[in-house]
Symmetry: none
Subunit: 225 residues, 2 copies
DNA sequence: GCTGGTCGTTAAGGATTCATAAAGATCGTT
DNA sequence: AACGATCTTTATGAATCCTTAACGACCAGC
């Protein structure tokens, strides 16, 4: 289920979007200003952000910069008629698309679908296999070679997914912390140690001598296929 | 924040660009001739280069060749009216775009945005290969020819990365020390000796007779691909 | 041949980072 | 209310890395 965060200060628009998007099987959350919006992005990690440019507390482009600083989720901007300059600035700041108010719900839905589609470029290899286990990115499933599947908690899965998607590449601790826990946790590197240990216990044949989930001291972690 | 380096010998133009670009949230640095311009590119590694063709000390195309020898950052050329030949030569040499003086700030800004956008999806992080080992900048991985990968510590990696990114050209001790240890360590050249020795021990087939990590006595070091 | 400077090599400590276990905190479910 | 699962936090010893110093080799100039 696609999760959408709507940031707008007009209750009527929030209400209209919530009703329409929920009816279309989107999972909707809302925020009424830039500050709570930024916090909500970090906390809820939505799949798409719909952002009104005319917020009471901060400029729309500031919000975009704040989001773009650490994630690349699609951002669709809502701009009032006549705010052409703001619109361009928003696109420059990193927004993906814009809709001018007042807008038809059909148009917004179309752009929403397009944004989501663009954002998830079908990974060319949704299944990664090693001699000891198999990771199915699409099905969110891990199976040990032999048949029984491994139960992973949500956090464990997020971590594994990032490492597997960057197969062979070193992933910085900052990046892992930012993408799993949010930008406020960039220094909590002990989280990584705890969860890497759990993943190793569940996946590695010899957890204290990892073959797949490798540590590069001082730099980050790497999944070796 | 996008970093722009402006190389021009006319103070009025430097001033105008600095004001306008800074106001648009660009991080601006400047140089007044080709020599310092080339040094600034190597040192600051800007995201875009704005280069006047009519420099006092060297021909514009020479500057472009000097830059293109080792990086593919976008180059926007400024040419005085009537210098059609120079303009073509500049594009041949590898410039990305040109603006004819006198120019409107809006036009320059538009071309700047376009250049940055074109460049961003193609991060220039190549794979450098030698007969004995391979350095993958993106994956932060070094593999010896034969299969086994080499473990580098963070400091070793930083050093190697700078040398490889400046493949073939001499990198000053000052520059290496500044970029790895910070400006306060610019004179601690023994650090370099220690770490170069370690890198050679890990990478060179004959560490005491280096083929790739060369010392230029009194000057600095050079990576020969 | 002596001398001062630069470079290569090595090794020991102290500092940082890591692995691991285990105890609280939180949340939803029964 | 109690439970189980998950997430957070803390503590400890082990592993790794960085810094620093010492010593010898090499080269240029005197």
């Amino acid at each position: 289920m696609t999760r959408v965060l709507v940031v707008d200060d007009e209750p009527s628009i929030l209400r209209a979007l919530r009703i329409n998007l929920t009816a279309r099987e989107y999972d909707v959350s809302t925020a009424i200003d830039g500050t709570t919006g930024l916090a909500a992005v970090a906390r809820d990690r939505p799949d798409v952000l719909i952002l009104d440019l005319g917020l009471p507390d901060m400029d729309g482009t500031e919000v975009i910069h704040g989001v773009r600083g650490w994630t690349s989720i699609p951002i669709i901007v809502l701009s009032a008629w006549g705010q052409e300059g703001q619109k361009v600035a928003a696109l420059d700041a990193g927004a993906d698309d814009y809709v001018t108010k007042p807008f038809g719900m059909d148009e917004l839905l179309a752009r929403l679908r397009a944004a989501v589609r663009r954002a998830s470029p079908a990974p060319d290899e949704p299944v990664v296999t090693t001699p000891d286990f198999t990771v199915d990115l699409a099905a969110k499933q891990v199976m040990r070679t032999g048949g029984d599947d491994v139960r992973l908690t949500p956090t464990e899965w997020q971590l594994l997914e990032i490492l597997v998607r960057n197969s062979g590449r070193l992933v910085t601790q900052r990046q892992l912390l930012r993408e799993v826990w949010g930008p406020a946790y960039e220094t909590e590197s002990n989280y990584l140690r705890v969860y890497l240990a759990q993943l190793r216990r569940k996946l590695e044949p010899e957890p204290s001598r990892p073959k797949y989930l490798l540590t590069e001291s001082g730099m980050g972690y790497r999944f070796r296929p």
